[in-house]
Amino acid sequence: MTAYVIRRLALSLVAMFGVITIVFVLLHVSGDPATLLVSQEATQDDIDRIRQAYGLDQPLSVQYARFAARVVRGDLGFSYRQGLPVAELIVERLRATFELALAGLAVAVLLGVPLGLIAAARHGSAVDTAAMTLALLGTSVPSFWLGLLLIIVFGVQLRWLPVSGYGSLEHLLMPAFVLGGFYAAQISRLTRASLLEVLAQDYIRTARAKGLAGRAVLLKHVLRNAALPVVTVVGLDFGRMLGGAVVVETIFAWPGMGRLAVQAVLGRDFPVVQGAAIMGAAVFLAVNLIIDLLYGWVDPRLRAAAHRA
């Protein structure tokens, strides 16, 4: 187990290092990074000062080492719009993003899993067709339109829910549904496929043949085995929701990290954009690491596979 943990941890650290490198390259491909780090109104004097302050007049290798060292220490630079450390701005917003992702995850699981269960139980029937049509629609409706649609219906026409903002449960309902809806559709398709696959296995036939009651087969043999791929994807989805709520946060004026990044691009506040990308990747990698470690603990086959690799 220790070897597995160390291996997984090392892989995550290497990936994080890669992320820092990508962001560094991104900053430099544009030609003169100094122009990205200042506002549009900046004069040549300002640009020169930035170049010196950030060490942009140094060789690239020196700059890279300094940049990486800075990020590792948690220093993501300063937002020139707000004059505050980027790390502080992002940490402030992480709470809202986290709440939204958790609520979205709840929507995705609570809608997706039952829908997939029902469809699989009634495989081939009209119920199955209806459920899978709904799921297909769910994956096809883009979140930005679904969000506006809900705002029109529940916010403007019915006046049941606030159209934007943050704070209460009412504020959370629409964004969570829009964020989780897409994933609910995917999870329902996966749950159905996974169940059908397990039901077709020989060991299920064996369990039935030796006279086990239908319920015992379902609970002990089917659900347990069908759950593994679903749980894997749910974990991945949570990571994606944490970083992918950019659109939903913007529509509902949710004060999260995604909205911060969009506003930063529109305001040409590059250090904040950079910080958001690094932080988004860090959160994603951390969530994945935790999930993988939980798996290694639950499923010994994985540990063995990692050991062999």
């Binding site: 992320v19 544009s30 883009p142 930005f144 994606r240 930063a264 691009v265």
Partner: protein, 303 residues
């Protein structure tokens, strides 16, 4: 095969031609609906959009935010109404549809090409190149797609060409990873060893034997990625970071409609339905194509 008298079977590559493939896709109701829907949308995007009723950028400030109607307003019929600047929504919709399809049809082949080359070379060669490239892929896939795209836009700026670049940059690692995994398995197969034994060069083996076996998988993945690319482009344009005016795009139309959402429900609804139908058509077709070509890929229908 030049010079060689050695005959060896190429597994899984009985040439199946395009026609039987099309028939198998069309045989299922969902596949047929997808193809039909796509045919209509493509015809509208590449045919009708050249003869739009009005110039999609022409403003008429005397008829702003007008609902869809058949009756003429000051002598002009706006079937789907007008936006805040009095531009004809139908005309903008048709051109926007064309832009969405063009972007997707430019981005997906370019990402496929890049991913295919990277995946094939690294998967076949292995070694430090493989190790290094896969770490880059890992790192890039760790950055949430939209955040990565937003960051690239911050550097490259927005506009049609930049959006294509951003989407290719964000798209290729998925193909590279899948292709590499396929190639890793393929290079251990007998027919590759046989080709090597008769003296085929690495380039020839990759082009003649490996590519052939990787293509079905890549084709399925590419079809499934088309709707993803369309949604990502629309999302960027929706946020104001994608296609810039005066070029209309579906996402941009949705973004602009946010200001009047409380009094003009049709403004977001029209482009919204268009994007949904487009994505739905590709999803229906992609799902079916996957089932026909490569059933092992179930579960790949996501980014």
């Amino acid at each position: 095969m030049a010079g060689s008298t050695l005959v060896f079977a190429r597994p899984r590559t009985e040439r199946r031609g395009l026609r039987p493939l099309a028939r198998r896709v069309l045989r299922s109701p969902s596949g047929a609906v997808g193809v039909a829907l796509l045919a209509v949308l493509t015809a509208a995007a590449f045919g009708w959009s050249w003869v739009t009723p009005y110039d999609p950028a022409a403003q008429d400030l005397s008829v702003t935010v007008h609902p869809p109607s058949l009756t003429p307003i000051r002598g002009n019929v706006h079937l789907l109404g007008t936006d805040q600047l009095g531009r004809d929504i139908l005309s903008r919709l048709l051109v926007g549809l064309r832009i969405s399809l063009l972007v997707a049809l430019a981005v997906v082949p370019l990402s496929v090409l890049l991913g295919l080359v990277m995946g094939m070379v690294t998967g076949y060669r292995g070694g430090w190149l493989d190790l290094a490239l896969m770490r880059v892929v890992d790192a890039q896939l760790a950055i949430p797609t939209l955040l990565l795209m937003v960051a690239v836009v911050a550097v490259l700026g927005s506009g049609l060409l930049q959006i294509v670049m951003v989407l290719v940059i964000a798209g290729w690692p998925t193909y590279a990873r899948v292709v590499r995994a396929e190639v890793l398995a393929l290079r251990e197969r007998e027919f590759v060893a046989a080709a090597r034994a008769v003296g085929a060069s690495d380039a020839r083996i990759l082009a003649r034997h490996v590519l052939h076996n990787v293509l079905p998988t890549v084709l399925v993945l590419a079809t499934l990625q088309l709707p993803v690319v369309i949604v990502l482009e629309a999302a960027l344009s929706f946020l104001g970071l994608g296609i810039q005016p005066p070029t209309p795009s579906l996402g941009q139309m949705l973004g602009h409609s946010q200001e009047v959402v409380w009094r003009a429900w049709w403004m977001p609804t029209i482009p919204g339905v268009a994007i949904t139908l487009l994505v739905l058509a590709f999803n229906l077709m992609g799902d079916r194509l996957r089932d026909v070509l490569d059933p092992r890929l179930r579960g790949l229908g996501q980014l």
